[in-house]
């Protein structure tokens, strides 16, 4: 499902007329530095959109403008039909936020924090259930300062989803997670998506974007340089494959034919045979390198 562009579904085509997030010409500068330099972005309802880009490219600034934390210098922004700069409590109740930095509650216990935040919302999820979902059930009674980095991040996620948000922002949510925790987190996010939550995610893990996102956008130097499904980014789906074997390699559009030819040449097993397709990371690194040259 995630490899199919959102436009394939009839429902999403109509949703595109009223997207969850719509941004055009977004600009933001700090003193002498332009952080965001004309970003356009549309995220449909029910979509998982991943923003990729190097540190300092403008991802967090963009996301925090959408979350209503920062004021923009120019551009049109609509999030769930509202300009986040004019956001009220009603709007905040529909939006979940996992910030890049964790807010530390230090001496409070995990369940105290989650329960307290649940009270801010008109229709919250069950705190115990959320604590279980993010995998903190065993730590529910622990003070938050005793949590590991990854566990603190899970608490952040718990607070981001306690209001059952229509739209969830995740700014580098899995930093500090071990591989097992990361996979559990992905399951949690897929579950939210299946429940209809729209998700805007920033990440440095290309694998994460590929696992979760319907579409990815690459930001470099404050500009959106590409938007596509992960499998199609930068012409990845039509890029040549590289076949390698002991003593040789070849770039080709028809790797199967090459393998058959090699099999015939070697009379059976081809030593150290491998067929490489460009990974999302290969494509991404090439884009960033080109983007920085441009």
């Amino acid at each position: 499902m995630r490899n199919v562009s959102g436009l394939v579904y009839g429902a999403r085509v109509t949703a595109a007329a009223d997207p969850a997030i719509s941004v055009s010409g977004l600009r933001k500068s700090y003193k002498d530095k332009t952080a965001v330099d004309g970003v356009d972005l549309v995220v449909a309802h029910g979509e998982i959109f991943a923003l990729l880009g190097p540190n300092g490219a403008g991802k967090t600034t963009t996301v925090e403008i959408l979350e209503g934390f920062r004021k923009r210098d120019a551009g049109e922004v609509s999030v769930l039909g509202t300009d986040p700069q004019q956001a009220d409590g009603h709007w905040r109740a529909k939006v979940g936020v996992v910030l890049q930095g964790t807010g530390e509650f230090d001496e409070l216990k995990v369940d105290e924090v989650v329960r307290h935040f649940a009270r801010f919302y008109p229709d919250p999820a069950d705190p115990d259930e959320v604590i279980r979902q993010v995998g903190l059930a065993e730590k529910a009674g622990s003070r938050t300062h005793t949590l590991s980095g990854g566990q603190k991040r899970r608490l952040d996620v718990a607070l981001g989803i306690i209001n059952r948000p229509e739209l969830l922002f995740l700014d580098e949510p899995t930093t500090g997670f071990d591989p097992v925790a990361r996979r559990e987190f992905w399951e949690l996010i897929r579950g939210l998506r299946d429940g209809g939550t729209t998700i805007l995610l920033t990440t440095h893990y290309l694998e994460e974007a590929e696992e979760l996102a319907d579409r990815v956008g690459v930001i470099a130097a404050g500009r959106m340089i590409a938007v596509a499904a992960p499998a199609e980014l930068g012409g990845r789906n039509t890029a040549k494959a590289r076949v390698t074997w002991r003593g040789g390699s070849e770039e080709t559009d028809t790797p199967t034919a090459v393998v058959q030819r090699l099999a015939a040449e070697f009379g059976g097993e081809v030593p150290e045979l491998a067929v490489h397709r460009p990974t999302l990371e290969d494509i991404y690194l090439r884009m960033i390198a080109n983007g920085e040259k441009a």
Partner: protein, 259 residues
Amino acid sequence: MIGLVLRQGGIEFKQFVRTRESFVFTLLFPAMILLIFGSIFQGTIAGVPFKQYFAAGMIASGLLSSGFQNLAISIPIERDRGVLKRFRSTPMPKWVYFGGKFLQVFVIGVLATALLFVIGAFYGLKLPSTADKWFTFIWVFVLGLLACTLLGIAFSAAARTGRSGPAVVTPVALILQFISGVYFPFGSLPHWMQQIAALFPLKWMCQGMRSVFLPESFAAQEPAGSFELGKVALVLGLWCVAGLVLSLLTFRWTTKRDG
């Protein structure tokens, strides 16, 4: 919504109590000072033991430290830690946060004052004897604490980082204590110092507390020749309004770095 303020106050207080060192020092500091100065100064002012005079000032100072110092120092730390930013992402209105802080400060103020009463008892501190005086005590206490809370919230914008908080706040509190007649008889301070002190709430809180803990005859020692309770209420009330307006205007959920 009132329920939410109570909950917010509850969680604030829980956090405060569990941060044991700040809890202990906020409560103990005024008590220790009372103990030390009460032991050093044995004299009398206009027939009133200095200890009695000093206790009234220390109770007012305790309110200043529970409200003003406590919040002006702790809020920038919470802001640095991202706790406030996280609150900002919820529908919780500012006034619920302010209300929660006031409840936290109120409970601390009550505990700090109770501790001063206990320490004072060893020195023969005379508690107010009439219902009238208790009534004055209560409104000076509540109004003073509210003004200090709101000014603490407003002043939290002055420290740009959590680390600079104490450096910015402590001198302000100390200077106010010296010029407001906590450590020295207010009547014997230079006139210009009295004038400056009269601009700030602590002087009026001390004066209100003196009217409760000192005999009527002591009123003659006040610059105005009376405890001026009407003026005490007026000035503290005005500071509450000013503190609220300043808080609403200057309060920041996020650090300057956050744009």
